[in-house]
Amino acid sequence: MTTSGEAPALSPPVGARDHAQGPASAPLTLVEYGDFECPHCGRAHPVVKGVQKHFGARLRFVFRNFPMATIHPHAERAAEAAEAAASHGRFWEMHDTLFEHQGALDDRHLETYAEAIGLDRERFLRELRDGAHAGRVREDFLGGIRSGVNGTPTFFINGRRHDASWDAATLTAALEAELAPR
């Protein structure tokens, strides 16, 4: 059968394993599949911050890893560094730091960021060296493919892929539309 272009649903749905900001009961959930070395994701970072500020407690934001490792040589390690930070309860600090320093994502810099956000340096280095979080990053990546991620960043609003532009005005309007009564 020649199937239609219907975008598949977000799979797995947002759950306890996810890194989320905002209440689980929020009427809006925005999921980003992103790559810390991707310049488009770098530009989307302040857009997401703005959207979070605008919607406040009405929005839950979730970030999942989608490193395009061949074109972005530091993306995989950066994703693992963010997951290592998550295992110390500091995911978002690392997430923000990485996006704010996209030009410096080599191992030496990752170590500096880990120290700056207060991670145990030895443990962080060990986890990075052993690829302790590589499996988690791969899970995110494969889930992204299944969900129809077609590049970075790809956004999902309440489980549906957002195919329009992600500039602040368009993304805000799409989220507002989701809040409007049908």
Partner: protein, 159 residues
């Protein structure tokens, strides 16, 4: 939009250059699933993202024993430069002379633009099309459809 050859149709045979002195024939892959990814042009932004994405997913395609072939009307030297720049690890075939002949056979040629559509085909090991999809030219179709089609080719486990 053209409607690509549909599931159940035997895939038209072809032989195209993958390098200046090597050709790839579809029949070479008999016995294994083949993914044909027609795309409009090397270097254009959407195509590049699409091919870069498939490059990252090769490992998953390989789990099904599937071969991925990219096809556009670009010439072989263009393909080589593009593949080198994007570090692509799958062949790009040049549907260059006669221009677009293979795309026409699969009914995914755009006469007006002189390029192929952005179209995907999944072939089974017997060379029969099992899934096809034509995406709007500006939209990267992702890979979920390909993976679902490859999964559907798998023999159902007897339990």
């Amino acid at each position: 939009m053209a409607s690509p050859l549909s599931a159940g149709t035997p895939a038209p045979e072809f032989s195209l250059h993958s390098t200046p002195d090597q050709s790839v024939a579809l029949g070479d892959f008999r016995g294994r699933p083949v993914i044909l990814a027609f795309y409009p042009a090397d270097w254009s932004p959407v195509c590049s993202d699409q091919m870069a994405l498939y490059n990252e997913i090769l490992l998953e395609f390989n789990r099904f024993g599937a071969e991925l072939l990219g096809i556009s009307v670009d010439g072989i030297w263009c393909h080589l430069a593009f593949a080198h720049d994007r570090k692509l690890r799958f062949p790009l075939l040049a549907d260059f002379e006669p221009k677009g002949a293979v795309a026409r056979q699969y009914n995914v040629y755009r006469d007006h633009e002189g390029t192929s559509e952005r179209a995907l085909f999944v072939l089974d090991g017997g060379g029969v099309i099992r899934w096809s999809y034509c995406s709007p030219v500006g939209v990267n179709p992702g890979a979920d459809g390909i993976l679902r089609a490859l999964e559907a080719l798998q023999p159902k486990p007897n339990r």
